[in-house]
């Protein structure tokens, strides 16, 4: 599911759209979400049935994933609750290697017979596909971890919070937006809980409980005289946290240039909605940008998406190799560039790392979906491309002897494959704030929040918009502007990176519904950065008349 499609379906992208929740799972009542999951000993017993059945049918490797996915979504509009949906999905997926080829089968029937049958089916598929397969699967070794567990560190399970409290919070945010000048507001809370059990023939039995939360809203202001309307989304980031994320605290926010407010590990939704109402009204009167070259000052809540599209996807090894050629595309960051050890992806200050262990991030887990312990590694060091994102069956291609631990499946029902870990830009080493950065810019634009985004199938040419734009003239914010989009080429853009604020400004952006694969699967991932400057970027004016 593409993000835009989801937002439209959820009524966030268009006013008054019929609300449906197209995600995985069946709607269930609230109590069911708080029931105890299936006992871990029972999961181990069932998993062993699948592993043994696969081996008995000729598999040389097998893994079993028993998954229970519990989600809650709440949608409101102005002073009305539109929908509150609880979903549950429970089942098992079995993946095997037989005759050197992958096979996969899944079933809702989480019984001895159901798992045995799925294992047999997966093995049969592997054998059938083996007839036209040319390169036998080669797995990097992985440690046998025995029986281990991992849980998102959280203070307050979102599902346990009474529904009324969550609805009241959204309605209060809506009221604040309206009181500050908005004509319409839709808001939503997405709460995800993945209870995943993984077992493999290599001796790991891994039980994990993963939680994520995303508060969002879309505020619209209308000028009836001109017929113009402007919208602004929430400046929250989705997080790998519990409902404590929704408890605002003064130490978790900072005022920024142009009257902006920036939230770190806690979010004040009501305050942000009020600001959104005010800012959306101001946007109706703002000037239209004059096209040309500008120095861009990009807030982390905007830059995260640029990192995601131009570095995150470009360094996925499966794309580099061609597995996504028919869908999401390939990558310009080809193996020869990596082998050369001098491919200048960005300027000397650009250091980008992948990290599946970052606390509070969307991608944080203890182990990936093929039983590899997660870690942190470098993708770009001092501007040079140094590595990719690889999983067990790809590690040998980049001469590594272990997986990076970034294998993921959106549910028990889908086969796991390489997905993006958290990919982040290291902050600058010297003390330097966003205000300092603005002071140093002669002619520029300060951009906050995600907007329109588009990049080609090899991740060269891109165009990005944003949520809020402020023109900078001689070191000062001149005022808000409209109709801004910047276009660049990935390598040119990252080589124009001239300054990065320090770690006190570092925060994560989140992509909640990132799509990839056929059949398409979604995943959630965070991207950390501090406010960063890019020099002389081409800005176009997007205003049109119809």
């Amino acid at each position: 599911m593409k993000r835009r499609e989801f937002l439209q379906l959820a009524g966030m992208g268009v006013g008054g759209a019929l609300l449906t929740v197209p995600l995985i799972g069946n709607a269930v009542d609230m109590d069911r979400l708080l029931e105890s999951p299936i006992d871990v000993l029972e999961k181990k017993r069932l998993a062993d049935i699948g592993l043994n059945a696969a081996k008995a049918n000729g598999a040389t490797y097998a893994d079993v994933r028993i998954g229970r996915y519990l989600n809650q979504y709440i949608f409101t509009r102005e002073d009305k609750l539109q929908n509150a949906v609880n979903t549950e999905s429970f089942g098992v997926g079995v993946r095997v290697i037989a005759n050197g080829t992958w096979g996969f089968a899944s079933t809702l029937d989480v019984s001895d017979a159901g798992i045995q049958k799925a294992a047999e089916k997966a093995t049969a598929i592997a054998k059938a596909n083996g007839k036209i397969q040319t390169e036998p699967v080669q797995l990097a070794p992985v440690q046998s971890y025995g029986e281990v567990s991992w849980k998102t560190p959280l203070e307050k399970n979102a599902v346990a919070v009474p529904l009324k409290e969550k609805v009241d919070l959204l309605l209060s945010a809506n009221a604040e937006a309206i009181n500050n000048g908005a004509n319409y507001v839709n808001s939503a809370l997405f709460m995800i809980n993945e209870q995943k059990y993984f077992a493999s023939t290599e001796g790991s039995y891994i039980d994990q409980d993963v939680h994520c939360i995303w508060p969002n809203f879309n505020v619209t202001a209308i000028d009836p005289d001109t017929g113009k309307y402007k919208s602004r989304q929430a400046l929250s980031s989705p997080m790998g946290m519990g409902f404590e994320y929704m408890d605002p605290r003064a130490s978790s926010k900072k005022e920024g240039p142009g009257g902006t407010m920036h939230y770190f590990d806690r979010y004040d939704m009501i305050e942000d909605a009020g600001l959104a109402g005010k800012q959306t009204k101001e946007m109706l009167k703002a000037d239209s940008i004059k096209a040309g070259k500008y120095d861009l000052v990009l807030d982390p809540n905007h830059l995260g998406l640029t990192i995601h599209e131009s570095i995150g996807h470009a360094t996925e090894l499966d794309r580099v190799l061609g597995y996504e050629a028919n869908y999401a595309g390939t990558s310009f960051a080809t193996l020869d560039k990596w082998k050369s050890k001098d491919f200048k992806y960005g300027s000397d200050i650009v250091n980008v790392f992948a990290d599946k262990t970052q606390e509070g991030s969307l991608g944080a887990v203890g182990y990936d979906d093929e039983g590899v312990k997660t870690k942190k590694w470098d993708l770009i060091k001092d501007g040079i491309l140094v590595n990719y994102q690889a999983i067990r069956d790809q590690a040998h291609i980049i001469n590594e002897d272990e997986s990076h631990g970034c294998c993921y499946s959106q549910s028990w029902n889908d086969v796991q494959f390489q997905r993006m870990p958290n990919v982040s830009l290291e902050p600058g080493k010297e003390e330097y704030s966003p205000d300092d950065m603005i002071k140093d810019v002669e002619k520029g634009i300060y951009i906050v929040g995600r907007g329109s985004y588009s990049i080609d199938q090899q991740r060269y040419n891109f165009q990005f918009g944003g949520t809020l734009f402020f023109e900078i003239e001689e070191g000062k914010i001149k005022g808000p502007v409209n109709d801004v989009a910047y276009q660049s080429n990935t390598q040119e853009f990252w080589n124009s990176c001239s300054k990065i604020c320090d770690k006190s400004d570092y925060k994560t952006f989140g992509s909640f519904f990132d799509g990839k694969g056929q059949p398409s699967q979604i995943s959630s991932v965070s991207h950390g950065s501090a406010t960063t400057r890019f020099d002389g970027v081409n800005v176009i004016n997007t205003a049109r008349n119809i």
């Binding site: 006013g15 008054g16 709607a27 619209t220 990049i455 199938q457 090899q458 040419n461 109709d483 119809i546």
Partner: protein
């Protein structure tokens, strides 16, 4: 299990109704079986089959509603799902926009199900992959493709006497052929309800030919060009326009159909007078479900007629508030075409660009329906009625409204993603930058 007959579905739903004590109850029962095969790097990568069936129940007490879903169908489970929905509904706040369920409706039948598609086997899928991979290898090209077939049913019933049932089958195929030197790429897309209309080898050959033709593309300056857009290139832009034709957004002043000072553009000329767009679930080439999620019967509906905005979609709530009849949104899009082939349109073009498909299309401005995106997998320069050479891909920034005002010529319709769209020649299509991507 995935496809229940009309009688089987009715029996389960009637039982569900009998277990309810709510003021009214609505239920939906649907299921499908989906098979797929994916290949890349000239070898099969994954394939599988997924079977599922699900029942959803919505209970209403006054203006309070709630839903619950289950995928077990014994009496105890059916009682449980109704009870859960009813308990939640009693706790829910009143919804001032609540609409009573519809009474019985009459539906025309749409031929959306073909047994031939439901009978697709793993061997058939493997054969389609082989028919792509082998010709590709022979020409030093690498194939990456995906075939997915599905068949299933949908049914709804409510306690006011409404019942609707339909069966659907569908097949979707796409393949990307890339020359092994990395300088050429071609793509094709096919979709049908009846697999007997599908020729996988023919489709793969189209993508293969485009890949070879598009090697060593030359760069041209971005700017405004006459473009010949194959249906796969224009379908998403047209779809974005069609699916944004909701009356409520327009009445609220936040739509491209809203007017300065209030009101909407209904009845006004929006695009070139040769543009006629309608939806019709009963069209034999692109059949679709004859009822929407509320159970409202879908009819042939004209959205743009001779360039004028003819209809907008109205939910039942918004229609009642505005004192009009509800208009279900489109289940497919059909744009009237002409007789000319793509080759005819090329012949009549002095200078222009042939576009195979557009990629990563995103909204830039909802008010003007401005979109950005790029060409991909076969972009060619036309000079004096002939394809002269392949060109590098380019980024566009354009609105379908502006595009349909710059219409030069309409060609023959083709089915694409369940819609019928003609090949089109458009003048002054705006490209804003070059891409090195192949």
């Amino acid at each position: 299990m995935a496809i229940l007959s009309k009688e089987e579905a009715k029996q389960i739903l009637e039982k569900v109704m009998s277990f309810s004590t709510a003021d009214s109850l609505e239920a939906g029962l649907s299921g499908s079986g989906r098979g797929n095969i994916r290949y890349a790097r000239n070898t099969v990568t994954t394939s599988g089959f997924n079977d599922d069936i699900s029942l959803g129940v919505t209970a209403n007490f006054g203006k309070r509603s709630a839903s619950s879903t289950i995928n077990e169908f014994d009496d105890e489970s059916l009682r449980k799902v109704v009870k859960r929905a009813e308990e939640l509904a009693k706790l829910a706040p009143e919804n001032p926009e609540f609409m009573e369920p519809l009474g019985p409706q009459e539906y025309k039948e749409s031929k959306t199900y073909f047994k031939s598609t439901a009978d697709i086997s793993p061997e058939f899928r493997a054969e389609i992959a082989k028919n792509s991979i082998e010709p590709a290898k022979a020409k030093d090209v690498t194939a990456a493709g995906y075939l997915e077939d599905s068949s299933g049913f949908s049914s709804i019933m409510n306690s006011k006497g409404l019942f609707a049932y339909s069966q659907e089958s569908e097949l979707e195929f796409t393949v990307t052929m890339r020359t092994s030197d990395g300088t050429g790429s071609g793509w094709v897309s096919r979709d049908y309800n009846d697999v007997n209309q599908f020729n996988g080898a023919e489709a793969s050959a189209v993508a293969l030919e485009k890949a070879i033709m598009s090697r060593e593309a030359k760069a041209i300056e971005p700017g405004k060009y006459t473009v010949i857009m194959e249906p796969a290139a224009s379908v998403q832009l047209l779809g974005n326009m069609l699916y944004n034709m909701g009356a409520r957004q327009a009445d609220e002043g936040r739509s491209f159909l809203s007017k300065k000072g209030g009101g909407t553009k209904i009845g006004e000329k929006l695009v070139d007078e040769r543009v006629n767009i309608y939806s019709d679930p009963f069209n034999e080439l692109v059949p679709a479900n004859g009822w929407n999620g509320d159970g409202l019967p879908r009819e042939r509906t004209s959205w743009i007629e001779n360039g004028v905005v003819k209809n907008m979609s109205y939910s039942r709530y918004w229609a009642k508030k505005q004192g009009v009849e509800p208009v279900p949104g489109p289940a497919n899009g059909i744009m009237v075409g002409g007789d000319a082939t793509t080759e005819d349109l090329i012949k009549s073009t002095k200078r222009g660009i042939l576009v195979t498909r557009l990629w990563y299309i995103r909204t830039v401005d909802p008010q003007t329906l401005l979109y950005t995106g790029l060409t991909r997998d076969g972009t060619f320069y036309i000079e004096n009625g002939k394809i002269k050479h392949p060109i590098k891909n380019m980024r566009f920034n354009e609105s379908p409204i502006i595009m349909l005002n710059n219409l030069e010529e309409l060609g023959q319709q083709q089915r694409i993603n369940g819609n019928l769209v003609p090949v089109m020649k458009i003048r002054d299509f705006t490209f804003t930058s070059l891409s090195d991507a192949v």
